[in-house]
């Protein structure tokens, strides 16, 4: 028998706020989290803006996770903070955590160029680098394995039913929630922690992506730089963040009297199989992902009441996604609100799907849809209702959330309101 699965804990670290309350307040108010990059000197890069998590206290997180002392990778710390919020809010016991699988989404390894630059000019740079690494194994590290967040969370909370590190790029955040949902629905566990964390706001991350010409270079107007579905959109804005959710079977949540934000009812994934550099222009792969999620949920297209779009603000993505939504939802596509959180958060790569899943759950829990900011000039190829006028009341029952990754990976989640 299929179990119903609900979200009972939320944790967030985002450019628009830390914690679910601040995040949601700012998202509904249409406040952008994008600004000049301050985490390092980006003044010589073509792109100098990004969505940084503000006021983030490493020391505070280190008090909770002393075993993470010395970790240099910022996404690890963001992930630990978001995950701990979710676990604490859900009020899970040690025994419940031991019986839960852990799913963590990530994307790029961070290269600590500052660690290796001092020895790079040596005659034999490789030898110098190795000697440094062996002499100072922690401080001299060039990169951190991508499963480090899973290891730290797993050991800290005692997750013993599988620790999964998913690296499906921008689809990772949605995929981990989808995978966790499937496990719980199938009865493999009663509780799971799933989420994603990322920070590409470092020299190699921001510099590397800027070479691909998918980022907005509007450095003088950072809060307006990301304009999903607007005719004048120029590109996306990189940012950082993390979001985790506690998923539980409805039975388990009810037994222990846990508060449920929303029900997860469907998950689908697909591959564009097109190019690593571009989305499939007709939205074929993205539509397949949505169609699969609908089938998984046992819903008809007309039963979807809102879409939380991938909406990156790149010229190609937004057209392909608009086409995909029309293919998957048919005539209903033009009638339902389609919102793009990245207009405010920027693109948190792996974490985006998880953050937008939280936003979708909060939409159902609060009856509010956040706006797509910076939309002002209609694009004839993007002709849906993008919630441009501001936050909107929402009485619908379902939200579909899209996440599409570099390389052509697509993932879609569907959430449903918890009926009293």
């Amino acid at each position: 028998m299929k179990q119903r699965v609900v979200i009972t804990g939320l944790g967030l670290c985002t450019p628009v706020g830390g914690g679910a309350e601040e995040f949601w307040r700012n998202l509904l108010a249409g406040r952008s989290g994008v600004g000049p990059v301050t985490l390092f000197d980006a003044s010589s890069l073509p792109v100098r803006i990004g969505g940084e998590v503000k006021g983030f206290s490493l020391a505070r997180v280190a008090e909770k996770f002393p075993e993470a002392d010395g970790e240099q990778d910022r996404k690890i710390w963001l992930g630990l903070e978001a995950a701990s919020q979710a676990v604490e809010e859900a009020g899970l016991s040690r025994e419940m955590l031991a019986g839960a699988p852990l799913f963590v989404g990530v994307s790029l390894e961070t290269f600590f160029l500052e660690n290796v630059a001092p020895v790079a000019q040596a005659d034999d740079a490789v030898r110098a680098l190795v000697q440094q690494v062996l002499a100072r194994p922690h401080a001299g590290r060039l990169q951190t394995p991508l499963d480090r967040t899973s290891q730290l969370l797993g050991d800290h909370y005692g997750f013993a039913r599988g620790r999964y590190t998913n690296c499906s790029a921008c689809a990772a955040g949605a995929q981990v929630i989808g995978e966790a949902f499937r496990r719980l629905r199938g009865g493999a566990a009663e509780v799971a922690l799933a989420g994603a964390t990322d920070s590409v706001l470092n020299p190699l991350g921001l510099g590397g992506f800027s070479l691909l010409h998918i980022l907005s270079t509007e450095n003088e107007e950072p809060t307006r730089a990301c304009r999903p579905f607007d005719a004048t959109r120029q590109g996306t804005v990189l940012s950082e963040g993390a979001a985790f959710v506690v998923l539980e079977t409805l039975d388990h949540a009810q037994r222990r009297g846990a508060r449920a934000y929303a029900e997860v009812v469907g998950y689908g994934s697909s591959l564009d199989a097109f190019r690593v550099t571009d989305p499939e222009p007709n939205g074929r792969g993205a539509a397949l992902s949505m169609t699969r999620a609908l089938a998984d949920a046992g819903l008809r297209p007309e039963e979807i009441d809102s879409v939380n779009a991938h909406g990156t603000g790149t010229p190609k993505n937004d057209v392909a996604e608009t086409l995909a939504i029309k293919q998957a939802l048919g005539a209903r596509a033009g009638e339902i609100p389609v919102t793009a959180n990245k207009s405010m958060t920027g693109h948190m790569i792996a974490a985006s799907g998880a953050v937008e899943a939280v936003a979708s759950a909060l939409t159902l829990a609060t009856g509010k849809i956040p706006p797509t900011i910076n939309w002002g000039q209609p694009d004839p190829q993007c002709d849906l209702d993008y919630v441009a006028e501001g936050c909107r009341d929402f009485a619908g029952r379902t939200v579909l959330s899209n996440s599409f990754g570099f390389g052509g990976q697509n993932a879609t989640l569907i959430f449903r309101r918890i009926e009293p």
Binding site: L113, A117, G162, C167
Partner: protein
């Protein structure tokens, strides 16, 4: 398992060859692919690695431009995937629709050769000799290719597989160790069981044969057993030392390798309907997490015990001292506790402590076999690709032996797995 799922294609690109039967023959013959790494002489505790020889990605990728976008791990992945589909005699789009084929893979730590990164780093050094972000923007970025981002994204190898083979179905990518490679296989099994896909291509790729990889392995402490070895050997003999002899002091340690492996999974009824050759049915599998406080032997035993569906019902674990394998097997047989399988594809990779833990776990459950092979000791440890190679060779063995074959995927990191295959 509710649905009977079979392996109908095995594709491998390994330091011991690209034909799984040939790889198996060479493993059984005791050949080793280990050779001096050729870099960092005297610096790394491990002096050898196992490389894939005579490999040209252009044999598998039609577009030369696409080959240039790929790291070596992606090139190996694309080749192994092509070989698996070819081995299964499967035509994407004909036997199954593209969107009905799932793709689940594992990738390792980013496989950038240091040679590609050093120019960037050197150009980013400031006047004080340290990293200077301004220099990075002004000169460092110009020293690298614009496609660098595609090379450092961990999902790219598997995405290239999807593009080259036009696979459009459900998918997920895991990282970075052998356990995550096993998770990819598990995801494929779940996708078939749940009706999400009708066929799945599952596997992994990894390249640990360059300086950056060695640095990463040093940082992870994976070369410790080389350091502990009384007289670290070098050269081609390194990979065959210590074969199944836990009292031997000549063993050296893990031999990092490179390669890729992919398997074609199908429902048995579908495979039979299209007349596919079936290597093996997946009779059981289990994935487990080694807890922080848990010993390795206990974690391995827990995985094996949880697999279920054994030839002889499992009894309780019992603690045991490690004796010789032959004595233990005889003792276990006498007490009728033996769970005989036709063959075991052991996880031992040259680390003597890990090998002893695996033997202890097998003994504690009375699991024994007439044939035990140790692919990692001969082909090198392929890390994220190791699970696919282990299970792939087990499938070939199952077809040959006609009995049940156990494939252990006990690698680095917390995640451990085992698969039990049988010839239908």
């Amino acid at each position: 398992m509710r649905e009977s799922i079979v392996i109908t294609g095995v594709g491998v690109v390994t330091p011991l060859g690209k034909d799984p039967r040939e790889v198996l023959r060479r493993v059984e013959a005791g050949e080793s692919a280990a050779a001096p790494s050729g870099f960092g002489a005297g610096m790394f505790a491990c002096p050898v690695c196992a490389r894939v020889k005579d490999f040209d990605a252009r044999e598998y990728v039609a577009e030369a431009k696409m080959v240039r976008l790929m790291n070596r791990d992606a090139q190996l992945a694309v080749a192994a995937a092509r070989l698996a589909l070819r081995d299964a005699g499967l035509q994407v789009g004909q036997d199954y629709a593209s969107e009905d084929i799932g793709l689940f893979g594992a990738t390792g730590l980013v496989g950038l050769p240091l040679g590609e990164v050093l120019p960037l780093i050197k150009a980013s050094v400031g006047a004080d000799g340290g990293f200077d972000p301004r220099s990075f923007g002004e000169a460092g970025l110009r020293a690298v290719s614009p496609i660098l981002s595609f090379k450092i994204l961990s999902n790219m190898p598997v995405c290239f597989v999807s593009i080259c083979e036009n696979i459009q179905g459900p998918n997920a990518i895991y990282t970075p160790w052998e356990g995550q490679g096993a998770q990819a296989i598990e995801a494929g099994l779940h996708a078939l069981e749940g009706g999400d896909a009708r066929c799945a291509l599952v596997g992994g790729c990894d390249v640990k044969t360059h300086e950056l990889a060695f640095i990463g392995l040093e940082q992870q402490g994976i070369f410790e057993s080389w350091r502990a070895s009384p007289s670290p050997p070098s050269g081609e003999r390194a990979g065959v030392r210590g074969h199944s002899d836990h009292s031997c002091e000549r063993r050296a340690g893990v031999v990092p390798g490179e390669g890729a492996g992919f398997l074609v999974l199908e429902k048995e009824a579908d495979a039979a309907a299209r007349g596919a050759r079936i290597y093996a049915r997946v009779a059981g599998f289990n994935l487990g997490t080694r807890r922080k406080e848990q010993g390795r032997a206990g974690a391995f035993a827990e995985v094996l015990k949880g697999m279920g569906d054994w030839p002889i019902p499992l009894r309780d674990l019992r603690a045991s001292a490690v004796q010789s394998q032959a004595d233990e097997t005889a003792e276990a047989r006498r007490s009728q506790r033996t769970r005989l399988v036709a063959a075991i594809v052991a996880a031992s990779n040259g680390d003597p402590v890990a090998e002893r833990d695996e033997e202890r776990a097998l003994f504690s459950l009375g699991i024994a076999a007439d044939t035990v092979i140790h692919p990692k000791k001969h082909a090198g440890d392929l890390f994220a690709a190791a699970a696919a190679l282990q299970v792939g060779l087990a499938a070939v063995l199952a077809e040959r032996c006609g009995g049940r074959v156990l494939a252990n995927c006990f690698g680095h990191g917390s995640e451990q797995a085992a698969f039990l295959l049988e010839k239908p």
